[in-house]
């Protein structure tokens, strides 16, 4: 599985390693990462953030993660809440 950018990825899926690309592969990439989150609350928060960042307002994505002044403030509450 390889991500290229918003709505663009390449992935091999299923037992026969069928190759898909495009939006479906990108959505699968998000799905794999959702599986890695620890609880339902974190997953819901991630889905909301992804919907906003990647689908609803892609040209207004936050750059907070890169800002050294904000880097210590987690965007996802890993302990649930």
């Amino acid at each position: 599985m390889a991500m290229i950018g918003r709505k663009a990825a390449v992935a091999e899926m299923g037992e026969n390693r069928h190759e898909v690309n495009g939006r479906l592969a990108f959505a699968a990439w998000l799905g794999v990462h959702a599986q890695l989150l620890s609880n339902a609350g974190a997953e819901i928060n991630a889905f909301l953030a992804w919907a906003d960042d990647f689908y609803l307002r892609p040209h207004h994505r936050s750059a907070d993660l890169l800002d050294p002044e904000k880097v210590d403030t987690p965007r996802i509450d890993w302990n649930g809440g």
Binding site: A2, N21, H33, L66
Partner: protein
């Protein structure tokens, strides 16, 4: 990355000269990691940062992806190669294939085709790594990329005291039937034995386990 966008925006505000080239990122390696990094930087330069710093100079952000091979995402199909190249191009990423990086300085990157990217503020290494060639001389069975074939408990078949870790190990994947069955039966020597009773004389070959990134998933 954030700092270079900020400083370019600041400099562009105080000077009238063109800042073209001052926001050049050279990503070295066209595997999954390099493609993801280049795509993300391209989107950052063209979609995200212009709204953070409202300065037209940021549109000059330039991403170059360098790989010695003939295609990006080489392990995938030709169709995927074309798709990835097209998508990267759409994000303003310049592909330089069949080319390697010759020199990375603090403010420039020189490529093997002689082209020089002055003011390249960032050279990003995303090239693949291979564990030391000691694996080939060990006489143990080797799989993909010269990695030593191991069982799900990381021991080598027929050598219960030899364990292989990190980039040295060709670990069976989760959908491999042999992985499922032995995991269920717990018949492997390492899991059946308590940690403290492991023989201290066991041989171990350790690579850089930290180099397996999420980008390397297939």
């Amino acid at each position: 990355v954030h700092a270079s966008f900020s400083s370019t925006a600041t400099r562009a505000r105080t000077r009238t000269c063109s800042t073209k080239g001052s926001l050049t990122f050279v990503v070295i390696g066209g595997g999954a990691t390099g493609v993801e990094a280049a795509g993300a930087l391209g989107e950052l330069a063209h979609d995200v940062m212009p709204h953070v710093h409202e300065n037209p100079a940021l549109a000059h952000g330039h991403v170059v992806l360098v790989d010695l091979g003939h295609a990006v995402l080489a392990p995938f199909s030709d169709e995927a190669h074309e798709y990835a190249a097209k998508q990267l191009g759409r994000r303003g990423v310049e592909l330089k294939l069949g080319v390697s990086a010759k020199e990375i300085g603090s403010d420039h990157v020189t490529l093997s085709d002689g082209s020089n990217h002055p003011h390249a503020s960032h050279g990003l290494g995303a090239a693949g790594l291979q564990a030391a060639p000691i694996g080939a001389s060990s006489g143990l069975p080797q799989g993909r990329g010269g990695r030593i074939d191991v069982q799900p408990d990381l021991s080598v078949e027929g050598h219960p005291n030899v364990f292989v870790l990190g980039d040295f190990a060709n670990v069976p994947s989760g959908d491999d039937p042999s992985c499922r069955s032995s995991g269920a039966s717990r018949s492997s020597p390492a899991t059946g034995r308590r940690r403290t009773s492991w023989p201290t004389s066991r041989a171990r070959a350790a690579g850089h386990s930290s180099t397996r990134t999420r980008g390397s998933w297939r």
